[in-house]
Amino acid sequence: MTPIRVLVGVLGMDQHELGAIGIARMLRDQGMEVIYTGCFNTPETIVQAAMQEDADVIGISSHSWEYLYYTPELLELLKQNDLDVPVVLGGSVITEEDAGKMLDKGVAAVFGSGSAMTDMIDTVRNLAASAATS
């Protein structure tokens, strides 16, 4: 079985990388292949990387409210490119209310700082599996 490929990145001018790096390591430890795109991404660079790298899941880590603007743009751009890759958001700035809004817009899952590691890993696995069968 080929390993799950997860793209992990941070958007805009948000330069808090701790969560992204932590998640990237955690997923790698689970045998997944992580394409780490670091900071200063835009929806365009994320979509481009997701296509080039054939990502199964896109993970966006956020410690800035920029995600509120970029995430809908990212979802739209994925649609325009006919790319059916689930987007997972993570970050302590994401309030419960905003998580709901993002899920409504089409984000596959949202995690906060206190989320259990096993939950995050299982979610990524399940999303990758259902994307593969769809």
Binding site: G12, S64, W65
Partner: protein
């Protein structure tokens, strides 16, 4: 945190006794105000510390109102942070800045912004500590003082120099290391001559230690940077005593109570010895380093935000006992945002209660002579020095920056911290222990989660501003700066000229990059106003 070890992994005994503390008093400790300054840089004054809270949000005018509010609450110094674009030398109308203008600090990009920012603030009385890019902050403060008839020589405060780590940790300039180092050295040299009371060199170990570093790693990386910058300044032919009195350190403070106190005591001693024994500083002020502290945002949680008030108070007590010069508490809403009005109030009041009601300032270095604390200070010091030597033995620190050594190091510590929190090795009440369901976790939540909207108007305003300027003197000044960069001349005079001609920070930074042979806009959106000048 393991029960019997500090966060840095120093094993602790349950009880300490006379055999644990060694060394003769005058050599290792000295009285407060005496070499090697372990016990404090000054003889007892009873004055306590400068009390301030991180501020800056929205546009300069809104931030100015925030400063005045803080002053009415009794704040005794200013601590200003720019928004992410400002901190990264980017103007608000850059395409990548759009959604974050003014949301995590104040948006500043031209001299007029500083005029508004500091309107009505007495420059000759208020210590102004700025986390904003040092070259531009110093240029505008200097010009502003002159405009207001205040001698730049009386300005107090500090700017951060971070050529080693900013690129890989928090705020990237997207500049080659050598250029960033040159900017730092130019600022320090300029301040030592023109603004001698101002700290042109604040070594900020706070921001990079938020990448999950422990106390020993934080201090070690700080000293690697200090040592390298000092060497670079000496290589210019500057006398150590001409600039070393105005080196200060801004450290972090985690929740590891004893170790943080030991760290500060150890850092004062290491600095004193480095300056005196290694660099030959004779002026006692060159050997005595003021340490200011920003308490750890990473130690706080978004869960149960009221718990963060307790964390800030405990950290403040630790720092009061350690004898710091200035302090800002990361406030209870830190997990979400820069401080709200309510959080500012609680942060300052926390400092004031501890300062005024507990008698904490009645005795200096109360831990001095404690078998435990002296033993821990020695151990922390030894480990910091070992790590500095270890890093320097790997090669020229400048090479280590360029080769990505520190970037890898930070990635390692971030991953480690993330794992420690998720494994429960670092306990955080409300987050990984004593959690409560979201519907019960409501105390202070509304205030903590209140957002600061990005300033789309400011984007338009700056964009329109560009065309309103007189282009000939502007372009001439930028061209001159471009030429100066290619000489050994200090760049500040040319930067002052550009600033007065109306240049923005993004333009000046772009010209510096361009003159260094790297792209004007590292993100590839903008073109240089002076074209592809040679």
């Amino acid at each position: 945190m393991k029960e019997n070890a500090t966060r840095s992994g120093i094993n602790l005994s349950p009880v300490y006794g006379p055999s644990d503390a060694n060394g003769d008093y005058s050599r290792r400790f000295g009285n407060p105000g005496e070499y090697p300054f372990t016990r404090g840089t000054r003889a007892y004054s009873g004055r306590g510390w400068i009390q301030r809270e991180l501020s800056g949000e929205g546009d300069p005018k809104r931030s100015n109102e925030q400063f005045k509010y803080l002053m009415t609450l009794g704040q005794t110094g200013l601590d200003v942070i720019g928004d992410s674009p400002t901190m990264s030398l980017m103007d608000p109308d850059h395409p990548l800045a759009r959604y974050t203008v003014g949301t995590q600090g104040v948006s500043l990009c031209r001299h007029d912004d500083y005029r508004q920012l500091l309107d009505g603030i007495p420059l000759d009385q208020m210590s102004i500590s700025s986390s904003g890019p040092s070259m531009f902050t110093v240029a505008s403060l200097y010009l502003l003082a002159k405009e207001r008839g205040v001698s730049p020589g009386v300005l107090r405060g500090s700017v951060i120099e971070w050529p080693f780590y900013s690129e890989h940790c928090s705020y990237a300039y997207k500049m080659p290391f050598d250029l960033h180092l040159r900017m730092s050295c130019d600022v320090i040299e300029f301040c030592s001559k023109e603004m001698p009371k101002f700290h042109g060199f604040l070594e900020d170990t706070y921001f990079f230690s938020e990448a999950g570093l422990n106390a020993v790693e934080e201090a070690a990386l700080g000293f690697v940077e200090i040592r390298h910058i000092v060497r670079a300044l000496l290589a210019r032919g500057l006398d150590i005593d001409s600039f070393a009195p105005r080196i200060a350190i801004l450290t972090n403070c985690s929740m590891d109570f004893y170790e943080e106190i030991a760290k500060i005591r150890a850092m004062r001693r290491i600095f004193a010895r480095m300056m005196k024994e290694e660099f030959g500083a004779k002026d006692p002020r060159s050997q005595a380093v003021n340490i200011a502290v920003h308490t750890s945002g990473l130690s706080l949680t978004t869960e149960q935000p009221a718990n963060n008030i307790v964390r800030g108070a405990v950290q403040t007590v630790a720092l009061g006992l350690a004898g710091v010069t200035a302090l800002e508490i990361s406030t209870f809403d830190e997990g979400y945002r820069t401080p709200s009005k309510e959080a500012h109030l609680v942060g300052l009041r926390t400092q004031q209660v501890i300062d005024l009601e507990t008698n904490i300032n009645s005795v200096q270095d109360p831990f001095g002579g404690s078998w435990f604390m002296e033993s821990l200070t020695d151990e922390v010091e030894a480990r910091i020095l070992d790590m500095v030597n270890e890093i320097e033995s790997l090669g020229d620190p400048a090479e280590l920056v360029s080769s990505g050594y520190f970037k890898q190091f930070f990635h390692g510590t971030m991953g480690r911290y993330h794992r420690q929190v998720h494994d429960g090795e670092v306990l955080k009440v409300g987050m990984n222990v004593h959690q409560m369901p979201a519907e019960q976790d409501t105390l202070l939540r509304d205030i903590s989660e209140e957002k600061i909207e990005p300033l789309f108007d400011r984007v338009e305003e700056i964009s329109a501003y560009r065309d309103k300027r007189d282009h000939k003197p502007l372009l001439d000044s930028l061209q001159r700066l471009h030429d100066v960069v290619q000489t050994d001349e200090n760049m500040l005079e040319a930067v002052l000229e550009c600033t007065l001609a109306g240049a923005t920070m993004g333009e000046i930074a772009g010209i510096l990059r361009q003159a260094w042979g790297t792209p004007y806009d590292p993100y590839g959106h903008l073109e240089s106003p002076i074209g592809s000048a040679q």
